[in-house]
């Protein structure tokens, strides 16, 4: 059986966390959500997630910092940025730093679901490399 995909969601607005949690749990992912990006960063340091969905504009650390952090910590993690402040510049910056996609709010839940499920499928098709696991998992 395929291993369940671990998803981390970070957004300082609770409604975003709650609604995305419900969408992805229904689709079989294991979900943790954070409205506090510092707490999210600490958790990301401890635990290996497969996918990170993060808002861009948050109090310290913001989405770009979080993105840079996980790229160092666990380069294999796939990062999707969601934000209400979609500018070409921020999108470019996020993609340059390794985000796989960028979605502007408001968006259709199905749009993000399809994107994340596609990434999840790709991850499941890669043979697992246990030596990559950081400590604590």
């Amino acid at each position: 059986m395929l291993r369940p995909i671990e998803l981390c969601i970070v957004d300082d607005e609770r409604i975003v966390c709650e609604r995305l949690r419900s969408v992805f749990e229904k689709n079989g992912l294991l979900v943790e959500t954070f409205t506090d990006s510092q707490a999210a960063k600490e958790r990301l340091a401890q635990k290996r997630f497969d996918i990170l969905i993060t808002d861009l504009k948050m109090a310290h650390p913001d989405g770009i910092e979080l993105l840079s952090f996980v790229r160092q910590q666990a380069p294999e993690i796939r990062v999707v940025i969601i934000t209400g402040y979609a500018t070409v510049e921020t999108a470019r910056q996020a993609m340059q730093r390794g985000a796989v996609d960028f979605i502007a709010k408001p968006f259709r839940l199905g749009q993000l679901r399809d994107l994340v499920l596609k990434i999840a499928q790709e991850i499941q098709e890669i043979p697992e490399q246990s030596s990559d696991a950081p400590p604590g998992t």
């Binding site: 709650e18 079989g28 259709r108």
Partner: protein, 854 residues
């Protein structure tokens, strides 16, 4: 004098053409912003369906964008009309302040009357009436559940009482007393509860309460007794304050004010303070609304949980019941009946405990409730019959479905045996077992998929029932108990059926359309624009609609339905959705419909929609009134159109709308390069569309009589009367006064289908209202058959079509041309309802037979 005459006075030609261009630019900007506002409103309304993820930041941006656009519309109108409508600025400012008040959620209580009848209460008012009363009002209004009459004394009244007794001063003293050994909660209770109890209710509130009491008084010899219940104001729905506040039962009308004070005082009870302190809720700002509900002399009462809170996986309802009032059930003491029931039809009783019941509570006619012995012949019998239980289960599940989460419902059976709902609130469930969501999705694999990924989600949720393809004319009673409404069109009569449906699937329509709006209003899961649902579901199978994943399954997918009930927080109840709904009440409704009506004035604008409607109407009217086509306009960007049908149409070219320069300010239809206008005129000019009818069906002659009245300008000055089109290569804004009715078309047609739209408004007529209504309805049906989404209100029709390819859009423009001509005379003919269907057929037949260019 109109701007046109001033502009084109002799000797000022060069200067005036520039001035005119500036005004046209303003008009164009006004029209653009008008459309932007309509788009923003449509998107926000659509967001209420739950399929668009938005956050508070979006609400702020939405408010800011609207504010900016509407403000500019007001400025543009005043620039065009030389500041004739400055009062519209005041209206704008008033509405802006209201929207911003909702958005900022100021800590004060909402500005409502001190007392609101239960009939006016719904969940959007929860900050004024508390969660408990808001839910009760909602199910009374929307679900037609039997709920006793009553009213709510609002948070605003509470605030006023607290001001009167100078609560704030005391609060400070209590909080700051440093050397006091007594715990804070006890100090608060000792001091503040007494303060409230001994204080005076301000005269205006007392009067409002007396008036409300007299309005719900029944008379007829029975003393009026009330239940006076707390309904605390808490933003979070899980903040249920269960049992922390006072409830007074059997209160005579004269004692209601005193009971009101007792309930208010219970806000400062020690356990309530401890509870809030633990949850980090600012108890100092707590407010309380209080419900006064007529007592039901109950034969029996009880509570139903729509799931077992300790084992939500079990597919059961739990019912407790006792003879008389529900006090024993609610307080948990004494012996009562317990039933476990199945959640699926036919709602069987799976197990029962019927102990001997010695004691019951009754309403004391003198006031209050008193314990009395249960009559000997009832002691060992169940408090309610199995038939009643089945009905109770059905209603409880209906409430659960509507609320989209498991419910804890207090009920009573009145002396006539009828079920009455006294209270409903979310049932806290034991923490969800991990994996429950996945089970739901795994279970779906066992079911055949009938439709997937088609169309758009208009309202998220899950619904089960027998698919019923409606034809028109059905009544709710004709349909099975659990049904999914399947329809080809979004026709107006569906509004009546939607509240009874467990889900809705439509072949056509948009998530911004009328049907979608109704499904959201009644929280019915809905898919629209599915295209083939009526075909696939024609046989009427049992189906489960997952309007979250956009899939329709054959059969009943139990796990999906349970998944919905077990979910703790339906999106509709989140803070963001409440705020958006309240904002939209001040933004979206259109109150100014008829430009001829006396109330069509800035002071009557209640929403942003009213403001832009008014501005649009007046800006266009201003151009129409004074359109001068004298020699001074030579070389300018406009021309009167020569055509067989004497439409008296003048085109103002704002960029690529006409082959330049038109000779002698006249042009032929062939010289029009505006795509949508050209297509429309092809329809209007089409020969022989109505040859099936005698005499009057000569299109040219009847249009000729149609457009000649009433004259819009002064004939003595040689200024031709007529109609105005503002046109560019792809854009058309057309205002057509034909006789006494008014057509307006705003359209954009290009190669990129995503940009394409047609907006058509139709209003007015010569004859009495019934005939006009028939004609408007006929037009609505025709347009729906042609894929338009329509919104019909009285004889004011708005129809929209979006995102079809260029050729389809142009074909629809030709159809509109035909329709405008065809319907000109129709209100005179529409003598009976049967004529509606005949008219639709006749037109569509004519349209089909007409040779139109393509």
């Amino acid at each position: 004098m109109s701007i046109w005459r001033r502009i084109f006075s002799p000797g000022r030609a060069a200067e005036t053409v520039d001035a005119l261009r500036a005004k046209i630019e303003r008009l164009r900007a006004l029209l653009d912003r008008n459309n932007l506002v309509l788009e923003l409103i449509a998107q926000a309304t659509e967001s209420l369906g739950g399929d668009l993820l938005f956050d508070f930041q979006y609400l702020r941006r939405f408010a800011a964008q609207l504010e900016d656009a509407v403000q500019h519309v007001v400025i543009d109108l005043n620039e065009i009309t030389d500041h004739r409508y400055l009062a519209l600025g005041d209206a704008f400012e008033r509405i802006r302040a209201g929207v911003s008040e909702v958005l900022e959620r100021r800590p004060s209580a909402p500005l409502t009357p001190y007392v609101l009848p239960l009939d006016e209460v719904d969940r959007d008012l929860s900050e004024a009436v508390g969660e408990k009363m808001a839910c009760l009002g909602e199910i009374r209004r929307r679900l037609t559940c039997q709920v006793p009459d009553g009213f709510v004394i609002t948070a605003r009244a509470c605030m006023r009482v607290f001001e009167e007794i100078r609560l704030n001063d005391h609060l400070q003293e209590v909080s700051e007393a440093p050397n006091d050994e007594t715990p804070l909660a006890r100090r608060v209770e000792a001091r503040l509860s007494r303060l409230v109890l001994e204080g005076r209710i301000p005269g205006d509130i007392a009067r409002a309460i007396r008036k409300a009491l007299s309005q719900v008084a029944q008379g007829g010899g029975m003393p009026d007794l009330f239940a006076v219940r707390s309904s605390a104001i808490g933003e979070e729905k899980d903040l249920s304050f269960a049992g922390l506040h006072e409830t007074c039962l059997g209160v005579p009308a004269a004692d209601v004010p005193a009971a009101y004070q007792r309930v208010l005082a219970s806000l400062f009870r020690a356990p309530a303070i401890v509870y809030q302190t633990k949850r980090e809720e600012p108890w100092q700002q707590a407010l309380m609304a209080v419900g006064c509900i007529r007592m039901v002399p109950a034969r029996s009462s009880g509570v139903v949980y729509t799931l077992d809170p300790n084992d939500p996986q079990r597919d059961v309802l739990l019912v407790s019941a006792a003879p008389g009032l529900g006090r024993l059930v609610v307080e948990g003491g004494g012996r009562i009946d317990r039933f476990v029931m199945s959640r699926t039809l036919p709602y069987r009783v799976l197990s029962r405990e019927i102990p001997r019941k010695d004691q019951m509570y009754r309403v004391d006619p003198q006031g209050g409730v008193r314990a009395s012995p249960v009559p000997a012949d009832r002691r060992d019998l169940p408090a309610v019959s199995d038939d009643f239980l089945v009905h109770l289960a059905e209603v409880a599940l209906k409430i659960e479905r509507y609320m989209k989460s498991a419910q804890d419902i207090e009920w009573a059976q009145d002396e006539r045996g009828e079920l009455v709902i006294l209270q409903t609130r979310p049932l806290p469930l034991q923490a969800e077992t991990p994996g429950i969501d996945r089970q739901a999705m795994t279970a779906t694999q066992r079911h055949r998929v009938l439709l997937a990924g088609r169309g758009t989600i208009a309202c998220r949720g899950i619904g089960y029932g027998r698919a019923v393809v409606v034809q028109g004319g059905e009544k709710p009673d004709d349909l099975p108990k659990d049904f999914v409404l399947v329809t080809r069109l979004s026709s107006p009569h569906l509004a009546e059926l939607v509240p009874y449906a467990n889900a809705v699937i439509a072949d056509v329509g948009a998530s911004t359309g009328h049907l979608a709006t109704i499904t959201r209003e009644f929280r019915v899961p809905a898919l629209v624009d599915v295209e083939i649902a009526t075909r696939v579901l024609a046989e009427g199978p049992e189906i489960t609609v997952d309007a979250e994943e956009n899939v329709v399954y054959e059969g009943r997918v139990e796990e999906l339905l349970q998944y919905q009930a077990r979910r703790q927080s339906p999106f509709e109840d989140s803070r963001e959705f409440r705020v958006l709904r309240r904002m939209l009440k001040r933004i979206a409704p259109l109150n100014l419909k008829d430009p001829q009506a006396r109330n069509f004035a800035p002071r009557n604008c209640q929403t942003y929609h009213d403001v832009i409607r008014f501005a649009h109407e007046k800006a266009v009217e201003h151009f129409l009134e004074g359109r001068p086509l004298g020699p001074a306009a030579k070389g300018s960007h406009w021309a009167a159109v020569d055509m067989a049908v004497p439409l008296d149409l003048v085109v103002i070219d704002i960029g690529g709308g006409l082959e330049a320069p038109p000779a002698h300010l006249r042009c032929t239809p062939e010289q029009i390069t505006c795509l949508p206008l050209r297509a429309l005129l092809e329809g209007l000019n089409a020969p022989g569309a109505w040859r099936t009818e005698p005499a009057a069906m000569d299109l040219g002659s009847f249009l000729s009589s149609a457009v000649s009245a009433p004259p819009l300008a002064d004939a003595n000055r040689g200024l031709p009367a007529g109609n105005l089109a503002i046109a560019s290569d792809h854009y058309l804004n057309l205002n057509l006064h034909l006789g006494y009715h008014f057509n307006q078309i705003d359209a954009f047609v290009c190669e990129d289908r995503n940009d394409n739209y047609i907006r058509f408004r139709f209003v007015g007529g010569l004859t009495e209202m019934a005939r006009r209504l028939r004609r408007t309805k006929m037009i609505a049906i025709i347009l729906e058959r042609q894929d338009f989404v329509t919104d019909l209100s009285s004889d004011f029709l708005v129809a929209r079509l979006k995102k079809f390819d260029r050729e389809t859009m142009l074909q629809r423009m030709r159809m509109l041309g035909l329709l405008i001509g065809f319907t000109r005379q129709m209100d005179v003919q529409m003598r009976g309802d049967a004529m509606i269907a005949d008219g639709v057929d006749e037109f569509l037949q004519a349209f089909h037979n007409t040779q139109l260019p393509s």
